[in-house]
């Protein structure tokens, strides 16, 4: 078994004022280099898991390890990409992508700009660095946000429904694009979505949050080779997996 990139050990969390926990003694782990989708109905606590990983929330009990180390002993261990791109309108696209480098510090201006230009090139936004975010389309903005996430230099990326605000066709393109990026970049990605099709398309395995409070995550492996295309989704066993997942989540939701 390969090494764990992210590990939850008996993590519990209750929002102040709630009498029921949202996360109850949850344990799960992600291996290095995996692409895993975390799926579940809206409001089930998926985002809470993310907020626990990036320390915006602190667990009541239990431990979270990234790269084998307790997160309380580390800084800058995961890159977070929020649902809306959150590009700062007063910064150019390049300056937005540069933000994590500026915050981390210790890098010359020229070197930062080189890294940013390279990243923009890689996400297909080469030459657009001087534009303002408002001049980009929704899909381009998400790619800029992804480039910004990469600039954190972390091996673990948390993507929180990054395509949910995009129109359907852009979403189809973006998930193929993200899949390619993942193959190049050699990162571990945890991806939140409530779109079952998106989850099946992107991930090596799906973690389904099918109980509340979340005390376990049901693992569903997706046996398909990368790179995948839309045709992959139409194969009989993929359709079956998708239907099973939908059934499972619906039962829990009703």
């Amino acid at each position: 078994m390969s090494e764990a990139m992210l590990e939850f050990r008996d993590v519990s969390f209750t929002y102040p004022g709630d009498n029921k926990p949202t996360i109850d003694k949850l344990s799960f782990s992600l291996n290095k280099g995996e692409f895993v989708c975390l799926i579940g109905p809206s409001g089930c606590g998926k985002s809470t898991i993310f907020r626990l990983v990036n320390k915006l929330l602190t667990p009541d009990s239990g431990h979270i390890y990234v790269n084998g180390m307790d997160i309380n002993e580390q800084k800058s261990y995961c890159g977070y990409m929020p649902q809306s791109d959150l590009l700062f309108p007063w910064r150019s696209v390049a300056a937005n992508v540069r933000l994590p480098l500026e915050i981390r510090g210790g890098m010359s201006d020229a070197k930062m700009n080189d890294k940013v230009n390279e990243a923009l090139e890689n996400v297909g936004l080469g030459g657009l660095g001087n534009k303002t975010p408002s001049e980009l389309s929704g899909g381009m903005r998400q790619r800029a946000a992804f480039a910004r996430t990469l600039m954190t230099g972390c091996d673990l990326l948390l993507l929180d429904e990054p395509f949910s605000a995009l129109d359907y066709l852009t979403r189809l393109n973006m998930r193929e694009w993200l899949s390619e990026q993942w193959e190049h970049e050699n990162k571990t990605i945890l991806f939140i979505t409530h779109d079952v099709e998106e989850a099946v398309f992107l991930s090596g395995r799906v973690l389904a949050a099918d109980n509340y409070p979340i005390s376990r995550l049901t693992t569903v492996p997706i046996p398909a080779e990368y790179p995948r295309t839309r045709a992959t989704l139409e194969e009989a066993h993929m359709v079956e997996i998708r239907e099973q997942l939908i059934e499972k989540l619906r039962k829990e939701h009703s």
Partner: protein
């Protein structure tokens, strides 16, 4: 304007203003009592006749009060907004006091300021500051409150401390609010300065207007006031141009 939009001249507004001025002109000519209601042309004529003292002595005196008063208000307003944003307890302590300070009728107290600070510049500066620091403080503070939590959290996940978040996120985010505040404060500061001068001064547009009043010179009362509003419009336009330059992202 540099964007080449055709809307830089508001034709309906210009027409309406001309019509109103014409009605005023006709009414004043019919009444024929310039000491009560001077006509627009008489006012403009007066402004021209009095250009020497108005532009050389009284406008500079008023602008000095406005400049010093606004500078103090900006520093005070920004300072208060920042400390209230930094510390919840300071906010709880100060916010009600700042609101309450606005219920004090500054104009009614202004004669006292003259007693305290004399006929010099500082009694007028105080009136100006009291009238203008409030919109600046509250508008900038609202700007800080409007900074999106998810953007702050994103900065935190990048490892930003409070200082970095302040400099890289809050300061630029608050800039549009700051410009709005200044644009609101400029006319108020001119009014404040004029009130202060009206109550006791040796120079200034407010003082001059009052002197003309004692001489029953209607057009002479209006001329410095016309100058006051022109000054306000010019200043607001200058700030507007600066805003255009620095806040290209408004409404996003």
């Amino acid at each position: 304007m540099k964007k080449g939009k055709a809307s830089s001249y508001n034709l309906p507004a210009i027409i309406l203003m001309l019509v109103l001025l014409m009605i005023w002109q006709a009414g004043a000519m019919k009444l024929d009592a310039a000491y009560i209601l001077p006509s627009p042309l008489q006012i403009v004529q007066k402004l021209w006749d009095l250009r020497e003292p108005l532009f050389k002595a009284h406008l500079p005196a008023t602008m000095e009060v406005v400049g010093i008063g606004l500078a103090i208000s900006v520093i005070l307003g920004l300072g208060l907004a920042i400390v209230m944003d930094l510390n919840k307890n300071v906010e709880k302590a100060l916010y009600p006091l700042i609101i309450a300070s606005q219920t004090i009728p500054t104009t009614a107290l202004a004669p006292l300021f003259v007693l305290w600070f004399g006929y010099g510049i500082w009694s007028k500066v105080l009136v100006t500051v009291l009238i203008t620091f409030f919109p600046i403080t509250i508008t900038v503070f609202d700007g800080f409150k409007s900074v999106r939590t998810d953007m702050i959290e994103l900065m935190q996940t990048f490892g930003a401390d409070r200082r970095t978040i302040f400099i890289k996120l809050k300061m630029p985010a608050v800039l549009p609010y700051f410009f709005s505040a200044i644009k609101m404060a400029i006319p108020l500061s001119l009014i404040g300065a004029a009130i202060g001068e009206w109550l006791g001064a040796q120079s200034g547009l407010g003082y001059f207007s009052r002197r003309m009043m004692t001489q029953l010179d209607g057009a002479g009362v209006f001329a410095p006031i016309l100058l006051l509003s022109i000054a306000a419009m010019v200043l607001v336009a200058v700030v507007g141009a600066l805003e255009e330059r620095f806040v290209h992202w408004r409404n996003e």
